[in-house]
């Protein structure tokens, strides 16, 4: 941890939260605002005339289970990392990233089921919001998966042999966040359509 701080040319004493973690929390706040904007737009529109609803495809239930599982694996991988159990860490991180990709695949299947049922982007009902809100969320998961791959390869590169836990903590916090965000969005849609 200290090495990393030095590289960032900060010679302040290390108080409290690491700046990167802090940056992440503020970033999370702004992602929350994006989705708060979209879901409140949904609520405003819902009470306007001409609103149409859609069943939420069942496959999104499976994606919920998948992303919850990935939250567990990322948690375990962080634990493994802290115990310096690199082998276990790497495999768990890989599983997490793969589960993330699987989640995105499920979302795409869900979208195509809707699309094939004749519900496209035309219109202004729940389904159009669903495409956009779930799609935007999937992009955030994709970003997280990419970050996982980055720290995964970092763990392999021989040059970087320090046990710096900060990046792993940052990515895992982010991952839990997109997971929680998904649960919120899923429940929001279940209740509101």
């Amino acid at each position: 941890m200290v090495t990393e701080m030095r590289n960032e040319h900060i010679d302040q004493k290390n108080k409290g939260t690491h700046p990167h973690k802090f940056t992440l929390w503020v970033g999370i706040a702004s992602i929350i605002m994006t989705f708060a904007g979209l879901t409140s737009a949904f609520i405003v529109k819902k009470h306007a005339p001409g609103w149409s609803t859609t069943e939420v495809p069942v496959i999104f239930l499976y994606s919920t289970i998948i992303i919850l599982a990935s939250s567990a694996t990322v948690h375990l991988s962080l634990k493994a990392f802290k115990e310096r159990n690199m082998l276990r860490y790497r495999s768990l991180i890989t599983i997490t990233a793969l589960l993330g990709l699987l989640f995105i695949v499920c979302q795409i299947i869900g979208f195509s089921q809707l699309w094939n049922a004749g519900i496209t982007l035309e219109g202004s009902g729940a389904a159009q919001f669903l495409y956009i809100i779930f799609g935007l969320h999937a992009l955030h998961v994709l970003g997280g998966a990419i970050a996982l791959f980055v720290i995964f390869f970092r763990a392999y590169s021989s040059k970087v042999r320090r046990y710096n836990v900060v990046p792993v903590e940052v990515v895992s916090t982010y991952w839990h966040f997109v997971d929680a965000l998904w649960v919120y969005l899923y429940i929001f849609f279940l209740i509101n359509v």
Partner: protein, 602 residues
């Protein structure tokens, strides 16, 4: 120690120990272009902002020509501008494009990017005692996203169908339907791309500012010892990271309406130009307004808060008095930040908003007047009975306070929904926000540039030019915008090409001519500032004194030309707040000086 640094004649300031690790060889590219030094990034924001200010200002000169002289044509304009002024007249389409670009450019690229980009970057690390931002890399990216967004916005001026022309607020349907106007085609797509890049830039920057202020303060620099500039820039960043994402979500829906056939904002539309009825149903343009103004109102404070912070600092230093009500200042800024999120619908009183809801927004809006008034009171009390040094920065800071009072008072008119029914979308609104936000933030910026120029470039700007520029600009600003209040009271609407067709507004023909002439003169006067700025970078009087203004804050403890890393040795420790001026018989006591046991309390 790299040769390069020696060659550039810069003192090697990076300390002996850890800071050395990152101080790689500096090339021209890493030093001036892809720099990660917060001070260089600040200068990049400042100079880009200046270029934008000239472009945006020139646009206003062009449309003021039309407004002041609607019946005349200027053949020379066609020689200069080509298709923008066919026959020496600004066409209706170009007029709308010009006012739209003028608003977009000044609000976002000059007064947001240029103002908080410059001073947050420059002042946060220097005043809190940090070597750089929490993430210099993100900081650099923030500038380059800003720059990229600028290029895209500029490029929209050159496309065949012209730039977007539906107003800086980009309301649908003009912004959602390509067929609605020429500017709604490619121009609008470029507007969206550019704004998306701008938003990313602001988010990267804001994240960085917040974590820097909270995590990287030097020893002893507790939050209640921060200079008010840093507090202001901190609240600005908070507003930005919480409100820009909402604009982003509004724009995402807009993109889908434009290109994917959805109808979030569109309903029951018949387009006359193509003679077609559109199939879109169920959309609501008002929804866009909610999303836009949820950003839009905080945005005006994103512009204003940095200017407030700069003014507080400059006033205190040059009044040689502690800022009056330091904590009241912080709490007011906090209140402004919170309230800024709760008043957006005052821009929508006449959209059919439920009158009961409207009265809630009236109340919340008028509540903002309270912290604003506290701040004004504190500034004036700081000036009261002070031994004022009338430096150019000080004059600009006083000018800022004057403009903020004038414009804040008209805000109270507008904040009453019943009055707003009459005043909405008239020149009264134009006058209100140009005075309270536009010109006053410019004066905050001028104050900041004059005050910190010695720290930025190790030279002074020329005072005589600065005084001429100050007086000319403040008189010009009042002469331009004050009369607009009368036009607004008379009901003269904004955003029209020609008012000659109304019998009732013919009385204003001469006034409009007058406003246009003053606007052109005031615009020309700005080149005095620009000349002064660029000339002084190379030829200005050299700073010999490490602390030329006799100020307490930490930036004046760095070498006259600080290198990357800011302090050559250890970062100084802080022992007191930033405002110990004229205390215990001493003119000023820097923050780095330990508290004397016999010292009086402030």
């Amino acid at each position: 120690m790299s040769n390069d640094v020696a060659l550039h004649g810069h003192p090697e300031v990076v300390g002996s120990h850890e800071a050395h690790a990152h101080h790689h060889k500096e090339t021209f590219i890493t030093k001036y272009v892809f720099s990660q030094d917060h001070k260089m990034i600040a200068k990049q924001f400042l100079i880009t902002g200046m270029v934008w200010a000239v472009i945006g200002g020139l646009m206003s000169v062009l449309f003021r020509l039309q407004l002041g002289f609607p019946d005349e044509s200027f053949p020379w304009l066609e020689d200069v501008l080509g298709r923008w002024a066919k026959g020496g007249k600004i066409s209706a389409e170009n007029y709308y494009a010009l006012i739209t670009m003028h608003g977009t450019v000044l609000v976002f690229f000059v007064l947001t990017g240029g103002l908080s980009g410059t001073f947050a970057n420059f002042l946060i690390p220097l005043q809190i005692g940090a070597r750089d931002m929490a993430s210099p890399m993100m900081n650099m990216l923030s500038y380059w996203f800003f720059f990229g967004g600028s290029i895209v916005m500029i490029s929209s001026l050159f496309v065949q169908t012209g730039p977007f022309s539906g107003g800086w607020t980009a309301y649908p349907p003009l912004s959602a339907l390509g067929d609605a106007s020429p500017g709604s085609k490619v121009g609008m797509d470029l507007w969206i791309i550019s704004m998306a890049m701008f938003i990313i830039s602001q988010l990267l920057a804001g994240l960085n500012y917040i974590s820097t202020v909270l995590n990287m303060r030097t020893k002893g620099m507790s939050m209640n010892r921060l200079p008010l500039t840093v507090w202001a820039l901190f609240f600005t960043a908070v507003l930005g990271v919480l409100s820009f994402p909402v604009l982003l979500s509004g724009v995402v829906l807009l993109i889908f309406d434009r290109h994917a056939g959805s109808s979030f904002y569109l309903s029951d539309i018949f387009i006359a130009s193509t003679n077609t009825a559109l199939p879109n149903e169920g959309g609501s343009a008002i929804l866009y307004q909610h999303l836009f103004w949820f950003l839009g109102h905080p945005e005006v404070y994103i512009i204003l808060l940095p200017a407030m912070g700069i003014a507080s600092e400059v006033l205190s230093v040059n009044a040689r008095k502690p800022i009056f009500g330091y904590f009241a200042m912080i709490i007011s800024m906090f209140a402004i930040t919170v309230l800024a999120f709760l008043v957006w619908a005052h821009h929508m009183f006449v959209t059919g908003l439920n009158p009961f809801l409207g009265s809630v927004f009236v109340l919340l809006t008028l509540m903002i007047a309270v912290p604003s008034a506290i701040k004004v009171f504190n500034w004036l009390t700081t000036l009261f009975k002070a031994n004022i040094r009338f430096t150019p920065a000080m004059l600009c800071a006083i000018g800022f306070v004057s403009l903020f009072i004038s414009g804040g008072l008209t805000g109270i008119f507008l904040g009453n929904s019943t009055l707003d029914i009459h005043l909405h979308d008239t020149y009264f609104v134009i006058a209100h926000f140009h005075i309270v936000m536009g010109v006053s933030a410019f004066f905050g910026m001028f104050a900041g540039v004059y005050h910190w120029f010695p720290k930025m470039y190790g030279r002074y700007m020329n005072n005589t030019l600065a005084y001429i520029h100050f007086w000319g600009t403040i008189i010009g600003a009042y002469l331009i915008f004050w009369p607009m209040h009368y036009e607004g009271f008379a009901g003269m609407p904004r955003r029209y090409l020609d008012y000659g067709i109304w019998e009732s507004f013919k009385q204003f023909a001469e006034l409009n001519k007058f406003i246009s002439i003053v606007a052109i003169i005031t615009f020309a006067l700005q080149f005095l500032f620009l000349f002064n700025f660029f000339y002084s970078i190379f030829k200005g009087r050299k700073v010999k004194d490490q602390n030329p203004w006799k100020a307490n804050t930490l930036e004046w403890t760095t070498p006259i030309n600080p290198g990357h890393g800011n302090w050559p040795g250890e970062i100084p420790e802080v022992h007191r707040w930033a405002y110990d001026y004229s205390k215990d018989g001493r003119d000023f006591i820097p923050q780095t000086e330990p508290i004397d046991p016999n010292e009086s309390k402030h």
